[in-house]
Symmetry: C2
């Protein structure tokens, strides 16, 4: 069953070991911030630095894993029709809206949406890390290191599939920032395919 995250909102849910999470951009051009915590101890959390260390790249796609601050693999990317995601930037927030869009209403952003969704799991605001920003298009200038935030290059139906390598709490949003989403806010779809479920006819076990 596919669930929908409404524009500029977020949710949280659990994954068991081996579950596959599919994150899908139904209309195209929409970012989804993803964070992950170990269910056994939510102080273990995805880490962009550990991931860049072990994967030896900042461009993550099929075959790459997302690692935790305890040097363990949390999620593996097993399918990726988009091919471009960001793991450099933090979730948009009241503070980033005030900084980047001072003439627009300050939205609580992905940060506020994640904070509310993750609170029932005992996860505090300060424990929200740099997110894995699914479909986000952040080129780095090779000469000077400057970064740009461009509209996602996704088409309707593009998706990424991640396999849980430990029991996890996931936070997931439909991103709220103007630049990240080409100026318009769209939904994000996701579904969880339990370990051993080959209901899509493709037994990957």
């Amino acid at each position: 069953m596919t669930d929908r995250i409404a524009p500029r909102s977020g949710t949280a849910f659990e994954l068991d070991y081996g579950d596959e999470l599919v994150v899908l951009d139904p209309e195209g051009g929409q970012v989804s911030d993803l964070v992950a915590y170990a269910r056994a101890d939510v102080r273990e959390v995805i880490s962009n630095g550990r991931t860049f260390d072990y994967e030896e790249t900042i461009s993550l796609t099929t075959g790459n894993a997302l690692w935790s601050n305890r040097s363990r693999r949390m999620l593996e990317i097993v399918e990726d029709t988009a091919g471009r995601h960001d793991f450099l930037l933090t979730p948009c927030s009241v503070d980033t809206f005030r900084h980047f869009y001072p003439d627009k209403p300050a939205h609580r952003g992905c940060f506020g949406n994640l904070a509310e969704a993750l609170a029932p799991y005992g996860i505090e605001e300060d424990a929200i890390p740099t997110a894995f920003n699914v479909f986000m298009n952040v080129p780095v200038d090779p000469a000077g290191g400057k970064i740009a935030v461009l509209p996602p290059s996704t088409s309707p139906g593009d998706q990424i599939r991640l396999r849980a390598l430990m029991p996890l709490v996931i936070g997931l949003t439909a991103c709220s920032a103007y630049a990240s989403n080409g100026g318009s806010f769209k939904p994000i779809d996701y579904r969880i395919e339990p370990a051993g479920d080959d209901s899509d006819g493709d037994d990957r076990s």
Copy 2:
């Protein structure tokens, strides 16, 4: 007064608002991992993601600030004779030694050195973030995003000067990893110039 961090070790100390921290590479070719926490609440910590967001670059030098997870400026780089530092990668640790140097003795690395030095401030291992890796030379391949760890390009005496923009706890190391330091382990020197101290004859207030 200049203090010396012995090869493959680390330390922690406090800065007051306005203090300037000078980190100096006495022999050249040596990395120093730096982390920072707000003294008022050590859950506030430097964040590479927030820094990349607000500074709009991954290449940080004079004029750039290091931001916290609460979207506040913690440190400003006010002088930088090296010009090249890294904020992508996490401190080396027993786990990274086992991964990258399986045939060498596993060292506790910057991570272990920081954990011991920061423990008296109530800072746990899980709260050690991606460090600001002073003098570390990590080019990003513009085409595919792959990263490399090259020897630092520093000459003896190269230094960076950071001004504290709030009361801070600082963790600082002489890095322990082979690739990061060109295969040899050297000391790091540092000194704290208190706010308002113009003992170097240069009143920057």
